[in-house]
């Protein structure tokens, strides 16, 4: 019997696909150059030439939103990869070895959990120059404990299974068990967690850019567009609307996608995954 596709999955999938298509399109085509300054056309409302209007420097808002989607996706992908790359092995080690190694890795992830991403980003920005890279590193590291915990939790369950003992009887060591048995069994939880983390990362990057700790100008970033539009809120209110809506819909899309995937992949999982930001 085929299970019914959860509606959250459809809506989430649609929104995420929209962002991806926009981002990909912006790589080859935007209505105008998103960094092209046209001083004579500052703070215009929507016109046929500028469908979403222009910003305080006369740059085309639509082009900047499109290019911003690319930036947003890049940051989401890289941060989630960092978080998975560090968090999954940590959680795996904790589940496989137990004992002191488990304590060490879990306390380490507790320490990371105690640092808000913003604080980490401020630290990185102070040490290096604030850039997309420092923002991605800060958010990625802040998300590590989420993955470490999820993998450890699901991994501990897997380690109790008979087939893990059986694997040991025919000579499978810890590394083998991790790759062949633990990872495939936690992959569904991992996929769901990754989409949720994606949303968290996008929101965090927007916040960092808003504070000037993220993507530096002139690369368009939704968070910074939002913060810059503040000054002109009474002259061009729509300027704040577009990036705000973009962020909201993208985050909503990834959250819905995560919810839908969870319903699809693991109907037994009742408790909600911890979303944090």
């Amino acid at each position: 019997m085929r299970r019914r596709t959860p509606p959250t999955l459809l809506i989430g999938g649609f929104l995420v696909a929209l962002v991806i298509v926009t981002a990909l399109t912006s790589a080859v085509w935007t209505p105008t150059d998103p960094t092209h300054v046209e001083v004579s056309a500052r703070l215009k409302g929507p016109t046929p030439t500028y469908l979403l209007g222009t910003d305080q420097l006369g740059r085309d808002e639509l082009s900047r939103i499109m290019a911003g989607a690319r930036n947003t996706l890049l940051i989401g992908i890289v941060t989630v990869l960092i978080a998975i790359g560090v968090g999954v092995p940590l959680g795996g080690i904790a589940a496989l070895y137990r004992g002191r190694l488990e304590d060490a890795t879990m306390r380490f992830s507790d320490v990371l959990l105690a640092f808000p991403a913003i604080l980490l980003a401020i630290m990185f920005a102070a040490v290096f120059q604030p850039s997309t890279v420092t923002a991605m590193a800060a958010i990625g590291i802040a998300l590590v404990p989420v993955f470490a915990r999820v993998v450890r939790g699901a991994g501990l369950q897997v380690m109790q299974q008979d087939y893990v003992t059986v694997t040991r009887t025919y000579g499978g060591g810890n590394g083998w068990i991790f790759i062949r048995h633990l990872l495939p069994n936690v992959s569904s939880v991992l996929i769901v967690q990754a989409t949720v983390a994606f949303a968290v990362a996008i929101l965090a990057e927007a916040a960092l850019s808003y504070l000037g700790l993220g993507t530096p100008p002139p690369t368009p970033s939704w968070g910074r567009m939002l913060s810059e539009s503040q000054t002109f809120l009474d002259q061009a209110p729509l300027l704040a609307f577009w990036p705000g809506v973009s962020i909201a819909l993208t985050v909503l899309g990834f959250n819905l996608l995560g919810d839908g995937l969870r319903d699809l992949l693991d109907p037994k999982l009742v408790e909600r995954l911890p979303a944090q930001g």
Binding site: Q161, Y163, V166, R168, Y170, G171, G172, G173, P184
Partner: protein
């Protein structure tokens, strides 16, 4: 005399400070099929896990377990991984949970081959098909792509046996391999095991509480009670002429088929197996034994040459 495949010397297993297996000694000759019998809680499975070096956390083993002259208990994890599956393998009771539900049968059967024979994907696949054919799994090539839930219990146990024997280990431990299966399938699986063991010249240690199974399959038998071997010998000697009262009681507990049943009660071994660490000092069976007296406060040695029993008042 050639070196035994497995020589267990003074094997003691402890849970914390409580001894659950006490100074067990036995040896398995090459090609020999030995039964290890006893009630639940007698330490059968722990003995097997100790031989494989697979005792769970919190349990420790001392003594020596010599496999081809090498002490398993002294091996590093890496050495153990190299030996397990290649030279010794184990089959478990529950074929329902012993296979990874998200992996295809073929991939799982190929795992030991990939680990020990360094086979690549295609080669391992072909070898796995042969292994499944050897355990007479119908439509082996097709079943390679099936998931465990698509197989019956007997088929899964065949797949497990295929995995365990894929690298032709010289020691095969089967821990109640047929307990979870229905009787007709049991007989097939036992035939298969005996066939494979004879073909490969391996030794079999069959752990069970099912005495007729041992009588059909094995040549030698070890009777374990309270973590001690109380009687050992050839199947004919031990079952035909038991010397330890516990063995006698076990044999009496088998319901005979040729009697009129209506008003006959099943015989059970009097009392029940004490909990961990609650066995009486001295002979562990003395609180359930009809022949026990003051002498039984001291644990008797295994007495005899080929057919040995640890009892102050043997039946014969």
């Amino acid at each position: 005399m050639t070196q035994p495949v497995l020589d267990v010397q003074d094997l003691t297993v402890r849970v914390g400070s409580i001894e659950v297996v006490h100074q067990v000694n036995f040896a398995l000759e090459a090609g020999q099929r030995t039964g290890l019998i006893g009630e639940s809680g007698s330490g059968k499975t722990l003995t097997a896990l100790a031989i494989m070096g697979l005792l769970p956390d919190g349990l420790s083993a001392s003594g020596r377990v010599l496999h081809r002259g090498r002490d398993v208990l002294a091996m590093s994890e890496r050495e153990l991984c190299a030996v397990r599956g290649d030279q010794m393998a184990m089959i478990f009771q529950e074929p329902m949970t012993a296979l990874n539900p998200v992996m295809k049968i073929g991939q799982q059967v190929a795992e030991p081959l990939r680990l020990h024979r360094r086979m690549g994907g295609r080669q391992a696949h072909a070898a796995a098909v042969r292994a499944l054919e050897r355990v007479r799994l119908p439509d082996a090539a097709e079943k390679m792509h099936a998931y465990p839930h698509q197989l019956s219990g007997g088929q899964r146990q065949r797949a497990m046996i295929a995995m365990a024997t894929a690298c032709s280990p010289d020691l095969l431990i089967a821990d109640e391999p047929t307990t979870a299966l229905d009787v007709t399938v049991q007989a097939q699986i036992l035939d298969l095991l005996v066939g494979l063991v004879e073909e490969g010249g391996s030794s079999l240690l069959l752990i069970t509480h099912d005495l007729p199974v041992v009588a059909n399959v094995c040549q030698r038998v070890l009777v374990l009670y309270g973590g001690r071997i109380v009687e050992e010998g050839s199947v004919q000697d031990v079952f035909g002429d038991p010397r330890h009262p516990y063995t006698r009681a076990l044999l009496d507990a088998i319901p005979p088929l040729d009697e009129d049943l209506p008003d006959r009660k099943l015989k059970a071994v009097a009392g029940s197996v004490p909990g961990l660490g609650e066995f009486p000092p001295g002979c562990p069976f003395r609180n359930r034994c009809p022949r026990a007296d003051g002498a039984c406060v001291v644990m008797p040695e295994l007495d005899g040459t080929d057919h040995r029993a640890a009892c102050w008042h043997p039946l014969t």
